[in-house]
């Protein structure tokens, strides 16, 4: 029966890890804007070549 005990401890730890991850994600602002990251990842990485500033 003690195997259940181990499972429970593992269960709480894993779930607690996810909770901590979630709280971190919220606090670091990842849920503030759920639109632009989805668009941003589709942009080409290559930055347009910088030309010297004229005018």
């Amino acid at each position: 029966m003690s195997v259940i005990l181990i499972l429970i401890i593992i269960g709480v730890l894993v779930a607690g890890g996810f909770l901590a991850g979630f709280i971190w994600a919220v606090k670091s602002g990842q849920y503030d804007d759920t639109h632009s990251p989805a668009v941003r990842m589709l942009f080409d990485d290559v930055k347009p070549e910088k030309k010297k500033m004229t005018n």
Binding site: I23, Y31, D33, T34, S36, V39, P48, K51
Partner: protein, 792 residues
């Protein structure tokens, strides 16, 4: 159809501006293309073609000079140290992937910009830049040059606060979800045959684990409900949070007691599940249109800084430092921020903001002008007569700062129901307890708490957030944005509708022009167009846009007499255009009309009759609303449109003209005093007072992100024809709420019948409570969306 502008997608007309082999609708759009092309930012046009922004007039000049002031910089910059500064700018026009791309590649346009990041839902761009290489002013001017004009106001609308409460709610949901899944796991064996085989020690342990996991839910996740219940009770209101709080605590205490005495493992799963669902409902309802501002006051419209004249030299000072007696400069198209007197220059004040009257009023030296007007024409010098806060318009707004929020909350359907609900439940619980006290005292407390537990109004509390939340989302998708879900209920109870005319029923910028008199030939049209092109008077511009011929001729002896007209000579032929008095020497006797007379050579040719153009769909809207509501029309304009409006509205509608902002506000107040529920539909700042006083104030906006006074809802002007459908849909929403209430009462009857008999087991609670909540939520959401498909 002509060519479409490569930059903004608008029709280029007959003569597109060509550049790089591509057509543009105007030079402004071409310039932006040029800038982006030079810097190899052409990808902007590939991500989302023709997504650029067209800007009507460009006169940056030193409009942004005030951004060089330390005082203002300090307020705007979120960080500034060691040559690096950070600023968050609100740019309402951000609308697509191309915008995000371009604004995040600002560093290519200017090496002084280190990093920029867009927050799309808030329409914010945060920019980190080296202030040694580019100043805040240059940065804003750079953005303006590519037509992303930031809206700068000094009073930040507590944005950080909403951000924090959004995050808090998410964390609360996260914590509740975490506890719920674990607690459900521990309680599961109880509900299965053979669960008792686990043994006493495990039941004990699971009980305690559930207890520990429910602590953060009870004391952190759900604390908003206690606060709200407490606040309600303090005002002697039994709101829906009172029975919720009662339920949560009864569940918690009963369950803790069960564990302590070893009787079982309690109702923790129901408790945590309840809080989790309630929070989800709150989150669902809480979706707001953050980028839209429903709370603007005069500060959002008035300039941030003005040009003050000190000993003959110009200096930019923040508006807040302007005091009585100061001399200030107002340039073309600038807003007059404070009541003042003209010292120098010819003023031509467009009061459409304030009065709704679309024609500018000429003012001479020494005359007084009011805040809120916009100067059109040359630069004028003014002497400030009052402090900004004491100006006519600002006083009007300040008067009704405190909107009657509290009293309206009283009427909310859910709170009315919850009052009866709480009392009934307490009565049932008490009578059950009394009954069992005489019959079987050991069951008395259990029956009492059981009733409170099972009757916890979870389904009731979820009905409104989900029904109204779905309605609000649906409205938003269809171009009607409302401030909060309470507006739906208020719209439902409306019985009187007041329309503003200018800008609401009419298109504020578009006029209907008709020439009455001899038919004009091509030559004459060219002459008229050439002459009016020289004047910046709005009527001239209107006539210019109306004439489609393209030729242009040189003008000699051009003269413009304010309030009268313009004259000149073309190829030796004299031409006069202007008021009847100016052209014919006779006073205009037709009351309140807008006619522009034309004199060419020797004869008066006739006149241009200029009318407001009505919004498409107006007939449909008025027709459908006429029978169901008492309609009124208020207009700040003159009476020239009365004959056009009368057949539209029918004889029962009062049409009132020459209404000042105060008149409008008082009119609404009077209607409300008569017990009417008033819906006001307006647009300009002149309606701000009336919009605030009414039960529901709606604004019609061409561009939903700019220029809307404080209101309860913003309707995209293209959806104006659907106005009545939206209002009618609120009735459907209310019916859905009522049916949901019925469903939740049915569940309560079942639950309570177990509870009063003293036979409510945790198993029944654990099954009944989630099922009732989930079925109500599902019903509300589905019903709203299905009816939306049919009726919107």
């Amino acid at each position: 159809m002509g060519l479409k502008c490569v930059h903004c997608g608008e029709d280029c007309g007959k003569y597109p501006v060509m550049y790089d082999g591509k057509p543009f609708c105007c030079h402004g759009c071409k310039t932006v293309y040029q800038i982006l092309n030079q810097q190899d930012l052409k990808q902007y046009y590939e991500i989302q073609p023709m997504s650029g922004i067209k800007v009507e007039q460009e006169d940056v000049g030193d409009k942004y000079a005030y951004l060089d002031l330390d005082e203002i910089k300090e307020k705007l910059l979120t960080f500034s140290d060691g040559g690096i500064s950070k600023v968050d700018l609100f740019i309402p026009v951000i609308h697509c992937a191309s915008c995000i791309w371009l604004l995040e590649h600002l560093d290519t346009l200017n090496p002084g910009i280190i990093y920029s990041n867009v927050n799309f839902p808030r329409k914010l761009v945060s920019i980190t830049f080296k202030d040694t290489e580019i100043s805040l002013r240059q940065l804003v001017e750079l953005l303006a040059s590519i037509h992303y004009i930031p809206e700068i106001t000094l009073d930040k609308l507590d944005q950080n606060e909403t951000k924090k409460s959004d995050r808090d709610l998410l964390i609360k949901i996260g914590v509740a979800g975490f506890s719920l899944l674990n607690v459900m796991l521990y309680n599961f064996p109880e509900y299965l045959p053979g669960g008792e085989l686990l043994g006493e020690s495990f039941t004990q342990m699971f009980g305690w684990l559930s207890f520990v996991l429910s602590l953060p839910v009870v004391f952190y996740s759900a604390n908003d409900y206690y606060l709200s219940a407490f606040k309600g009770l303090k005002h002697k209101i039994v709101n829906i949070d009172v029975p919720i709080t009662l339920g949560i605590f009864t569940l918690f205490i009963q369950s803790t007691y069960d564990i302590l005495t070893g009787r079982g493992i309690g109702y923790f799963d129901s408790l945590v599940g309840l809080v989790f669902l309630l929070l989800i409902g709150k989150w669902y309802q809480g979706k707001t249109y953050r980028a839209l501002s429903f709370e603007r006051d005069y500060k959002s419209y008035f300039p941030v800084a003005v040009t003050k004249i000190i000993n003959g030299s110009e200096e930019h000072i923040p508006l807040s430092r302007v005091v009585k007696g100061d001399h200030i400069l107002i340039r073309n198209r600038e807003l007059i921020p404070v009541d003042s007197k003209i010292l120098k220059g010819k003023a031509n004040i467009d009061y459409s903001f304030v009065t709704g009257e679309s024609l500018p009023v000429p003012k001479e030296k020494g005359e007084m002008i009011f805040a809120g007007g916009r100067q059109i024409g040359g630069t004028i010098e003014l002497e400030v007569l009052k402090d900004v806060e004491q100006s006519y318009l600002t006083q009007l707004w300040n008067q009704n700062d405190n909107r009657e929020e509290t009293s309206s909350h009283l009427n909310m359907i859910v709170n009315r129901v919850s009052e009866y609900f709480t009392v009934t439940i307490l009565l049932i619980a008490l009578s059950a307890a009394v009954y069992w006290f005489f019959k079987n005292p050991s069951l008395a407390t259990f029956a009492f708490t059981s009733v409170l537990i099972i009757a916890c109004p979870c389904a009731l509390a979820l009905t409104v957030p989900f029904t109204f939340g779905s309605t609000m989302r649906l409205f938003g998708r269809k171009g009607f944005y409302i401030k909060n879900t309470g507006v739906i209920e208020k719209l439902h109870s409306v019985d009187t509708v007041v329309f503003d005319k200018t800008g609401t029923l009419t298109l504020s910028r578009s006029m209907h022009v008709e020439f009455v008199g001899d038919k004009l030939n091509e030559d004459e049209l060219v002459m008229i167009k050439s002459l009016v092109s020289n004047s910046s008077h709005p009527l001239s511009t209107t006539i210019k846009d109306h004439i489609t011929v393209e030729d242009k001729k040189e003008i000699e002896d051009f003269q413009e007499i304010p309030a009268m007209g313009i004259s000149g000579k073309i190829d030796g032929v004299k031409i006069n255009i202007g008021s009847k008095k100016f052209v014919m020497g006779k006073e205009d006797t037709t009351p309140d009309s807008t006619n522009v007379y034309v004199f060419i050579g020797e004869h008066v040719k006739g006149y241009f009759s200029i009318h407001n153009e009505y919004r498409p769909g107006i007939r449909e809207v008025i027709e459908s609303m006429k029978d169901k509501y008492k309609l009124y029309l208020l207009s700040g304009d003159n009476e020239s449109e009365r004959d056009t409006l009368r057949p539209l509205f029918g004889d029962d509608t009062a049409l009132l003209f020459h209404q000042s902002p105060t008149d409008k506000m008082n009119f609404i107040e009077k209607l409300k005093a008569d017990g009417k529920k008033v819906l006001m539909i307006g647009d300009g700042l002149n309606d701000a007072g009336a919009l605030m006083k009414s039960d529901v104030g709606l604004t019609i906006a061409d561009d939903i992100y700019s220029f809307s006074p404080a209101c309860d809802g913003i309707l995209e002007s293209t959806r104006f024809g659907k106005l009545f459908r939206f209002i009618r849909f609120t009735n459907i929403s209310m019916n859905i709420v009522k049916v949901s209430f019925l469903i939740s009462f049915l569940y309560n009857v079942i639950g309570i019948s177990f509870a009063v008999q003293g036979t409510l087991s945790p198993l029944i609670a654990a099954v009944l409570m989630p099922i009732s909540s989930i079925s109500v939520v599902a019903f509300a959401t589905l019903a709203v969306n299905l009816s939306g498909r049919r009726f919107l």
